[in-house]
């Protein structure tokens, strides 16, 4: 089974805001858990409530929702709200747009468990990706003292390596 490319691009985009933070491994864990928890909650919340909002305002509602979470987390942790961008990039907003196919799937249909399962796995994929990046940064940047891995240049190199490996993953029958 080949993992779809759209998931990789989504994960890489979602990782970009993390480059702004100077996290150590522990703080990266906390931040990524926060991102993924809000991501799962958002998917769950909007899947069931999307039809209750006016069609024209669904994107705005999503935007307000994200802003509120970013603000609330800032109150409690003083974490700069850039992490909300990660949630934004991870969310497939297609089910909020009336013209998209996903938005026409009924709220309670047989597709829903599979849909949630895919989102659940996407969250785990993102956690794994961020932790691997933080580990490599920790080992190469701090333990081995390679300066480039303490800066975005090294991270971009890792991102391109991940994209290359993903693009060339072997097919299985």
């Amino acid at each position: 089974m080949k993992i779809p490319d759209s998931l990789l691009s989504r994960i890489i985009f979602a990782y970009l805001p993390f480059m702004v933070y100077a996290f150590d491994l522990e703080k990266a864990w906390i931040a990524v858990l926060c991102v993924v928890a809000v991501f799962w909650l958002t998917v769950f919340f909007f899947w069931f409530t999307r039809n209750l909002f006016p069609e024209k305002l669904r994107s705005e509602v999503f935007f307000f929702w994200l802003l509120a979470w970013a603000q609330a987390v800032w109150y409690f942790t003083k974490l700069q709200p850039l992490w909300a961008l990660s949630v934004f990039f991870l969310i497939p907003t297609s089910f909020l747009e009336p013209s998209q196919k996903a938005s026409r799937v009924r709220v309670f249909s047989r597709v829903v468990p599979r849909y949630f399962w895919e989102r659940f796995l996407a969250g785990f994929g993102f956690i794994g990706f961020v932790i691997v990046m933080a580990l490599v940064q920790e080992v190469l940047g701090r333990q081995f003292g390679m300066m480039s891995f303490q800066r975005p240049a090294g991270i971009l190199l890792l991102l391109s390596l991940a994209a290359f490996l993903w693009k060339n993953q072997p097919y299985q029958r």
């Binding site: 006016p54 305002l57 409690f76 942790t77």
Partner: protein, 49 residues
């Protein structure tokens, strides 16, 4: 049929207004709660960048 659609749309807009109001009220509650939580020394130490 049109009346039904209009009423539904109005209800949707009402829900939207309620949703925004709940968000704002929750946020102000979160702000007050966070001020209490941030009084703890160990917690401030935990979240220090």
């Amino acid at each position: 049929m049109n009346i039904k659609k209009t009423v539904l749309t109005m209800l949707q807009y009402l829900f939207f207004v309620l949703f925004v109001a709940v968000l704002l009220i929750t946020l102000s509650g979160a702000k007050m709660l966070s001020q209490e939580v941030l009084k703890n020394e160990w917690y401030r130490e935990l979240i220090r960048p």
